[in-house]
């Protein structure tokens, strides 16, 4: 089969969920050869005189790698920066949880790496749904990120000679990943946090912790401020400036269970979307195959374990459903189904993430999953109990290489597993299950990282990003820091050069309206006083999303999901129970506001997944697969970014296509045979 095969046409009902808008003609990358574009852009961008910078205010929401790095850098440049986070300290942002590493085209290993190769791998890894120009720039600045972080005191792994160590990561054939044991994200974030705190001390950055953005302020067509809720006092107040940067991370928590921190949310981005910012490719989510499975109904989040476990572990489920409750050690070899080795003899347990994930789900759907049976609502609305887990067995490798060798490779992961599950993976097989891990979609941005609202910039995982339909391992940290340290600080000046913009204050009508709208929404949430807790509705949303908009999507399933989400929205706005009051530390209220936006986002994700009748990267449409069950793209029809414009409450979202032009890389279909 070839990529040019026609996609299955959409059913009549499906296409009624959205409206077509005009294409986005240009993402504003400068002309010229790809390796000159960034240099050209930096040269052509208008500059702000250092003496004028303190008169310009930049509001940055989020203090992870993308936000923290941008705040520090803009502070150093002399702008007046205000930065906001919902946590009690900027150091808590969820960038901290990234384990593996950060890529950079340093070619320290002399193994044919280059900027072009990193660019190529990223575009290919993204299944040819990323914008070439942005990805090239990402690869270009990657080396400078490492320099910057080392200078800040990030303790990357080193060799005995005192130089930096590298490893290969995520199936890439060059060793370009820099790492700090299994805590690279933490170390990079602390580097950015320290740089940020240095600017706080210098007085250029004003840090507002425990402040959650609840509305965007637009005056005369420009993003001019945000409305925050002070999470300690409940005060709802406007913050005004000349540009707004959203660095608010991904939206994996739309699934309720994900590897994201429980506080991660999409409210800032969604508020901006409602005010006109396009949302790019919302259906692209990455699902990681090796997470610790759900233990029961009270599960609040999922924990990822490094994929490297699949190098030596063998994945299996019992052949017979009646064996599923047995002690796995009692199940004889002939009654085990090593299904990945069976279906994909060439790659076996090392098939790509999405395939491994999908097959695990299939096994469990067949009733051959293992571990505790957890209640879930089936498509028929009935509650059923399903075992959601497959074995990842190290018995064979322990027998072959000895416990000591296995411990030296995976000791820390085995310890982590033992702590969470109470089971000893040296004795019994691990249980694993896929979990939502990263969202490639996000607010649409141009080459300058500016959204479709002038003056509103979006960085890091919050933008629709450089990862296309699928992100490569060790690339998220690279993108966050690239946006924060190097890209945004060199593009936002082009916009700010025209500032300071007209003087506005709390009494400016648009500002007062935004504040009132935010207050009104909070008041509404508090007055419903229904019967259901916020979390119970969130869990239901998560189940809908996981079932229909998770690893495998179908037209009918997505239409069902949209119907269910709409009903759930009704349920939420008429039957949610939010305890307490606004003028207080009220976590139920915080979660309710976030959930309301997740519900709306969930619907848009389903619409996006419905409209994209091809499989690419993290998006798998059952209707579009090869005979071997692999993802099949349709480049002739879908080689574009889907940028969705808000269609009003109850209205249809409007689809703007940004065609993707591949000038430096040839489009290819991936194959794992």
């Amino acid at each position: 089969m070839a990529a040019s095969d026609k996609a299955v046409p959409a059913g009549e009902q499906a296409s009624s969920y959205w409206k077509a808008g005009v294409d986005i003609a240009d993402a504003k990358a400068p002309a010229g050869p790809i390796e000159k574009k960034w240099q050209t852009r930096q040269f052509e961008a208008k500059l702000v005189n250092p003496a004028n910078r303190r008169k310009l205010t930049v509001l940055i929401v989020g203090t992870g790698l993308a936000g923290g790095a941008a705040a520090a850098t803009l502070g150093e440049a002399g702008y007046n920066v205000h930065t906001f986070c919902y946590q009690d300290s900027p150091r808590r942002a969820h960038s901290i949880a990234a384990q593996g590493g950060i890529n950079a085209a340093k070619n320290y290993r002399n193994d044919n790496d280059s900027v072009y190769r990193l660019f190529y791998d990223t575009v290919k890894g993204g299944d040819y749904r990323a914008r070439e120009t942005n990805v090239y720039r990402l690869a270009e600045v990657s080396a400078k990120i490492i320099d910057q972080c080392v200078a800040q005191g990030v303790p990357f792994a080193r060799e005995y000679g005192g130089l930096l160590d590298n490893r290969s990561f995520g199936g890439v054939q060059v060793q370009r990943t820099f790492y700090a044991r299994g805590q690279t994200g933490q170390q990079l974030l602390i580097g950015a946090y320290q740089a940020l705190e240095r600017q706080v001390e210098a007085g250029t950055v004003h840090m507002h912790t425990r402040h959650e953005m609840v509305e965007l302020i637009i005056v005369d067509g420009r993003a001019r401020g945000i409305v925050t809720r002070n999470m300690v006092t409940g005060a709802v107040e406007p913050w005004l400036g000349d540009a707004v940067v959203l660095a608010t991370g991904g939206y994996g928590n739309v699934f309720f269970l994900s590897t994201n921190a429980v506080g991660c949310n999409n409210t800032a981005a969604w508020r901006a979307h409602r005010k006109g910012a396009y949302f790019g490719n919302p259906c692209y989510t990455q699902i990681h195959p090796t997470c610790i499975p759900v233990h029961g109904e009270t599960q609040s989040k999922l924990t990822l374990m490094s994929e490297s476990l699949r190098n030596d572990g063998r994945i299996w489920v019992p052949k017979k459903a009646e064996d599923c409750a047995k002690d796995p050690r009692q199940i004889p070899e002939e009654d085990r189904d090593y299904y990945l080795e069976r279906i994909y003899p060439a790659f076996g347990n090392l098939v790509p993430r999405d395939i491994a994930s999908r097959q695990a789900k299939n096994m469990c759907d067949e009733g051959r999953g293992v571990g505790p049976a957890v209640a879930e609502k089936g498509p028929d609305g009935q509650i059923r109990h399903v075992r959601r887990g497959v074995y990842l067995d190290f018995a064979e490798v322990i027998g072959r290489l000895g416990k000591a060798t296995v411990a030296s490779r995976y000791g820390n992961l085995f310890d982590m597993y033992a702590q969470i599950t109470g089971e000893n993976p040296y004795e019994t097989p691990m249980r694993i299950y896929p979990a939502v891990h990263y969202t490639m979609g996000g607010l649409w941005v141009d080459y300058d990282l500016m959204s479709s609202i002038p003056g509103l910039y979006v960085t890091g995982e919050a933008n629709f990003s450089d990862h296309g339909a699928n992100r490569l391992g060790a690339s998220a940290l690279m993108q966050g820091l690239s946006d924060g340290y190097f890209v945004l600080p060199n593009t936002v000046n082009d916009y700010l050069a025209a500032g300071p913009f007209s003087k506005i204050g709390p009494d400016t009508p648009a500002v007062a309206e935004a504040v009132d709208a935010a207050k009104g929404r909070i008041a509404k949430l508090l007055t419903i006083q229904g019967q259901r807790s916020v979390d119970s509705i969130h869990k239901e949303l998560g189940q809908i999303m996981w079932e229909y908009c998770g690893m495998e999507r179908t037209e009918q399933g997505l239409i069902t999901a949209i119907g269910k989400i709409r009903a759930l929205r009704e349920e939420f706005w008429s039957n949610v129970k939010v305890t307490g009051k606004n003028d207080d530390f009220n976590q139920a209220l915080e979660r309710a506001g976030r959930l309301a936006d997740f519900i709306d986002l969930g619907e848009l994700m389903c619409v996006d997944a419905l409209h994209r009748r091809e499989s690419c990267g993290g998006h798998f449409r059952a209707e579009s697969q090869t005979e071997d069950g692999e993802a099949l793209r349709h480049d002739d029809e879908f080689c574009y970014v889907a940028a969705w414009e808000f269609g009003g409450d109850g209205g249809q979202p409007i689809l703007h296509k940004e065609p993707l032009r591949y000038e430096s890389i040839e489009l290819k279909q991936r194959s794992y045979k």
Binding site: T73, I96, V150, G153
Partner: protein, 253 residues
């Protein structure tokens, strides 16, 4: 499992707090301690009572946001067989029918915001004073221009794993934040990039530590014992040595 929780409830910073008792049935031993609190909050919400406020975020032991005193020890250290954060403490560490006391961090510089939530911004102030290396973005030399000896780099890393949760302060009979401060001092002191500001940094951070209202260290070691990231007590020794040395240098005069 049946669990009885005695939880510190305090309406706000000024209010007088106290322990309240709650009963939970059907607790699974696979639940984390925070999921137990979630379960309690669902129960309270159903009863139209106000849920217990507690800080948490990543729930995988790395962000440092969670932290309560469980049975007299931060993060329930002595109920767990291994050093842990509260989110990684699991109910299998407790007996069926256990009575568990839950209190917030109690320390002068950590005002209680509500129930189990405290304000730890004093930690940010200590970092602001000097817990960084002054290098503007773009000004960094090539990463390999200064090799860093592996042993020191590893020691820097061990100290850089601090998550800033505040357990050290909560455990300390003196309410001292020396282990937190020492972790940052040692992290940066062990790297060649940290040398130019080393003497100035130690003076500034130690002064900021005291001005935030933390107490002095009496070398007991409760902090290192409860630290989820096992920052060693020896780091405080490093801080002491560096501070003494710095007094003979003119930096910051």
């Amino acid at each position: 499992m049946k669990i009885t929780l005695r939880i510190w409830r305090q309406a706000d910073r000024e209010a007088v707090g106290g322990l309240q008792t709650y009963q939970l049935d059907n607790v699974s031993e696979d639940m984390s301690f925070l999921e137990l609190l979630d379960m309690l909050n669902e129960q309270l919400t159903a009863q139209d009572l106000e849920p217990v406020a507690f800080d948490n975020d990543c729930r995988e032991g790395i962000c440092g946001m969670c932290g309560v005193v469980v049975n007299g020890a931060p993060h329930g250290r002595y109920d767990s067989s291994v050093p842990t954060t509260t989110c990684q403490l699991h109910m299998r560490s407790f007996q069926d029918g256990a009575v568990i006391d839950v209190e917030p961090w109690k320390a002068g510089p950590f005002p209680i915001i509500k129930d189990l939530v405290v304000d730890r911004s004093a930690f940010d102030h200590i970092i602001q004073a000097g817990g960084y290396i002054s290098v503007n973005t773009g000004a960094a030399p090539e990463a390999h221009s200064t090799p860093a000896p592996k042993r020191q780099a590893d020691r820097a890393f061990d100290n850089a794993t601090c998550v800033g949760c505040g357990a050290c302060v909560a455990a300390c009979p003196n309410g001292s934040a020396m282990l937190f401060t020492a972790a940052k001092v040692t992290h940066l002191a062990m790297l060649p990039q940290g040398q130019p500001e080393r003497m100035r940094r130690i003076k500034a951070m130690v002064a900021a530590h005291d001005e935030a209202g933390f107490g002095g260290c009496t070398n007991i070691g409760e902090c290192a014992s409860v630290c989820p990231k096992q920052i060693p007590l020896a780091s405080i020794g490093q801080l002491n040595r560096d501070l003494i040395a710095s007094l003979f240098k003119g930096d910051g005069k």
